[in-house]
Each structure stands twice: as structure tokens, then as C-alpha cells.
Symmetry: C2
Subunit: 262 residues, 2 copies
């Protein structure tokens, strides 16, 4: 009793891809040809295609055909750094070099909103009920391609204490942490990241130009920053497509290079 036919077809094609008989970027036979070759119906062949698509092995282009996917060179993002620096300005991360070429990140001007603190925002920032927060949302690009969606949340009390730049819809050039340091004497002594993976929502699918069949997941990185009283004062949520990003964590003494190595 073998597996279902669509699985046998998919396994056979997967073997051909992994053995190199179907090289990267090459075109698969059309669904009609595969239908004849495997003596199955076109719908069954298409079920096999869906299995391969889900695993990121092939992609279909309407009007053209089905192709073996090209390997993507991932962006590497360093999660660890100097906890006191403002280097991670609007964002929770700074970019490490990728494959020898240093790519330059750009980002849109922030969209600023005043919101009620609910859910993770409230719990991570340890705010009482009915608190308000400033939300600063940005779209970030590397070399012009969409790279991450990022939203930082600050307790409204920081603005009331004088950090008015937080509610201005312009980038804070010196970095938000550095600004809060000079403006309020607030010192970041550490932060904590949480990395999870989930399916993208429709906004993310559109911004990252992900296939809308949901096969590409997104990383969600939550960074909570703490001041010298070890109280949280900022929550940043960053979202990255999982198919072209990876994260590096360094502890102790390690060599410099953070190359791809794949």
C-alpha cells in the first residue's frame, strides 16, 4: 500500500530537485506533460505541486510554468549588542553585513499614533489599565526591497515628562534611546528579545509581496527595553519574512564575521 499518488509524484519530483536533475531555477514539465508522464489527472498533478510549493521547493508563474525556486541569500540580523548604545535607533536591531557587501537599510518616516495600551503592549510595559501609549510605525527596506515592519510603543508618560519628539512624525536621527537619554536622563541598561514565528496577516503579505497562499511565515521579534530601575520603557515589535532572514546571537567572545556560510 503505497502513499497517495500525489505524494508519490511529489516525492519523485523532490528527489529530482535534490539530486540536481532539476537544477535551481529550471522549469518543470507542464502540468499536461506531467499528467501524461505519471498517468494521473491534472488535478492530482496539481495536488503534488501544492505539496512542493508548501515546502518552498517550486513556484508557479501563471502563463509561464512551474520552476525550481532559487536559493535566497538571507539577511542576517544581530540581536545582541551593547545594551547602552543608541545604535539601534528607531529599531530593535542593527544590520550585520551580509555576504561581504554591506547593504544599507532605509526606512519610511514613522506613522505616529496615540493608542490605548492593551494586550502584549500593556503587559510587557507593565502599564495599568486605561494607559495610553505612543505607537511609532515604520516600514524598513534594504537596498529598496521590503525588509521589516516595525512598531515601537512608548508609555505616554515619557512624552509628558518632556520627550516630545516621540509624538512627532519624523525620524529621531540620533536614535530614540539616545534621545531619551539626553532629554530625560533615561538610561537603557538592557533589553530582552522574544523570537516567534507565525503566519503573516494581510498587511504583511502585501508589504513583503509574499505569496498569498501563506506558505511563507514571518518572524516576530518583540524587544522590551529596560531603564536603570529595570522597568520597561519601550516595546518594539518587528516583523520579518522568514524565508529571507535569520538572526544571530553572540555571547562572550566570538570572531567578527557574521557571514552567511550556507
Amino acid at each position: 500500500m503505497p502513499d497517495p499518488m500525489y505524494r508519490r509524484i511529489a516525492d519523485d519530483l523532490r528527489d529530482k530537485i535534490e539530486s540536481g536533475a532539476l537544477p535551481n531555477g529550471s522549469q518543470l514539465p507542464t502540468e499536461i506533460e506531467l499528467r501524461e508522464r505519471y498517468d494521473a489527472s491534472r488535478n492530482t498533478v496539481r495536488d503534488a505541486m501544492k505539496w512542493l510549493i508548501t515546502r518552498g521547493l517550486v513556484e508557479t508563474r501563471p502563463g509561464q510554468g512551474t520552476f525550481v525556486v532559487d536559493k535566497i541569500v538571507p539577511f542576517v540580523t544581530q540581536l545582541t549588542g551593547d545594551p547602552g548604545t543608541g545604535r539601534d535607533d528607531e529599531g530593535p536591531v542593527y544590520v550585520a553585513e551580509v555576504e561581504a557587501t554591506r547593504r544599507e537599510p532605509t526606512s519610511t518616516e514613522p506613522r505616529v499614533e496615540i493608542q490605548q495600551a492593551i494586550g502584549v503592549v500593556q503587559s510587557q510595559l507593565k502599564l495599568p489599565d486605561s494607559s495610553t501609549v505612543v505607537s511609532r510605525h515604520q516600514q524598513r527596506y534594504i537596498d529598496g526591497t521590503p525588509w521589516s515592519l516595525q512598531t515601537s510603543f512608548y508609555p505616554m508618560s515619557l512624552v509628558e515628562r518632556g520627550a516630545i519628539k516621540l509624538i512627532q512624525a519624523t525620524n529621531i536621527d540620533e536614535g530614540a534611546v539616545a534621545y531619551l537619554g539626553t532629554r530625560l536622563g533615561l538610561r537603557q541598561v538592557g533589553y530582552r528579545d522574544k523570537v516567534t514565528v507565525r503566519a503573516p496577516d494581510s498587511n504583511e503579505t502585501a508589504f513583503f509581496k509574499l505569496p498569498d497562499d501563506g506558505r511563507v511565515a514571518v518572524f516576530e521579534v518583540q524587544r522590551v527595553a529596560f531603564d536603570d530601575l529595570v522597568q520597561p520603557f519601550r516595546l518594539t515589535i518587528s516583523v520579518y519574512p522568514a524565508d529571507r532572514n535569520q538572526f544571530a546571537v553572540s555571547v562572550g567572545q566570538v570572531p567578527d564575521d557574521v557571514r552567511g556560510h550556507r
Copy 2:
């Protein structure tokens, strides 16, 4: 001209799920009922189901029906710690508390193999061609449920220098790093992790009991450990199901609790 019908059906059901009209764990109408309700064919209804399944919103149980998935309480794994400790014994990580109850990890005795160093193993350990490595593979459980698959690679030269426990198929109780410290005077001064996400292979699908439609991805964490000459001496590759795991990174001074908070 709206979206395809299967997307409209899927969107409508997704709205019902996210609004709470279809609560967690509840059963959806059967495909036949949905066929009548949306005036579509059963195959089209099933296309909508596949879309929802891919996004982890519902699950089907043959003979029973389709159900809204229950939220999973994730395991939290701390990636940062004392670089010099042997606390992370066979594995690259140690377990943080999850939801107040401290769960106990167990693992199988390691399966030990001698292999050629190729690919990432060779490049990360910076070994010349035709080097051999010791591979120690373990299955790890938390409270009896499969949690991670883990393989550590050590240059064969460590065994030749006297670290014979590495080629014994038993756990190294004091921790591999501590053992290498006392046996060879080898000191770990740091390590670097790389976190990626990919589709599971068939081994992983079987061990973690993942649905074989490939909708659940896996985390792959590569940890390279460095000695006091900042040379790599161990590579550990750990794989975790992405739907029930998350990773925490602490930098600087942060509070203790690493709770789920979701």
C-alpha cells in the same frame, strides 16, 4: 470583481474565528453544510479549508469534522547565558520556566557517529578537507512530549587529545563543555547562535508528530562554541517545531521572569 470564491469563503470564516463567533476548539459546519451556505461546490469549500489550515486557524479530523485550533502555550528557550558555564550540557540551550510550572526536559542517550566534515559542519568548525568529526545526536522531550532534535559535532582532534567520553554513547552528566574543560583544559569563552526557519524533513515530521502537509515550520538553531583562542570547537544544530517554541535573548540587565505573556 472580488477575490476568488474560495478566498471569500475563507475570509468570511477567518473573520468569524477572529471575532470569536467561532470560538477556539469549536467545530465548524461540515463541508456539506458550508457547500449549501455559500452556494459553492464541496471542492471549493475544501480550497477555503486548505487556506485556513495553512494559516494554522483550523484543523480537520477525518470522521469528525473541522475545528478551530486551540492556542498552544509555547516553550520558551533562553539563548543567552553565561558563556563559560557547562550548564548547557549536551544541548545548546537550557530551559526557562514556562507558565509558572517548571517542566523537566529529558533526552535519549546519544547516538554517536564518526563522519566526514562537510558542508556547514566543515565551514563552521573551520576544518580542512577530509577532516572527521564526532556527531552526537539526541532526541529531547519536555514532560514526555517531543521537543527538539539535536546534533552536536566535535572535531575528531578533541578525541585524539584525550576526550574519549565524546565517542561513548552515554550522556556526559557534568556537561560536555565542563568535561572538555576538566579533561583538556579547554575553556569556552563564547558562542554564537544562528536562528533560521525552514520546512521540516520527514524525520522531523515523524518525530514531532507534525501534520505532513508541511504547514508547520521548524526552527533550526546553529550554535558554534569558541575556545580561548576564539577557535570553534563545537557545532550544535537543534531543531524545534515553530508552532510551540519561542526564543528569548537577554542583553544587559533585565528582570528575571521569562513568562509567556501571551
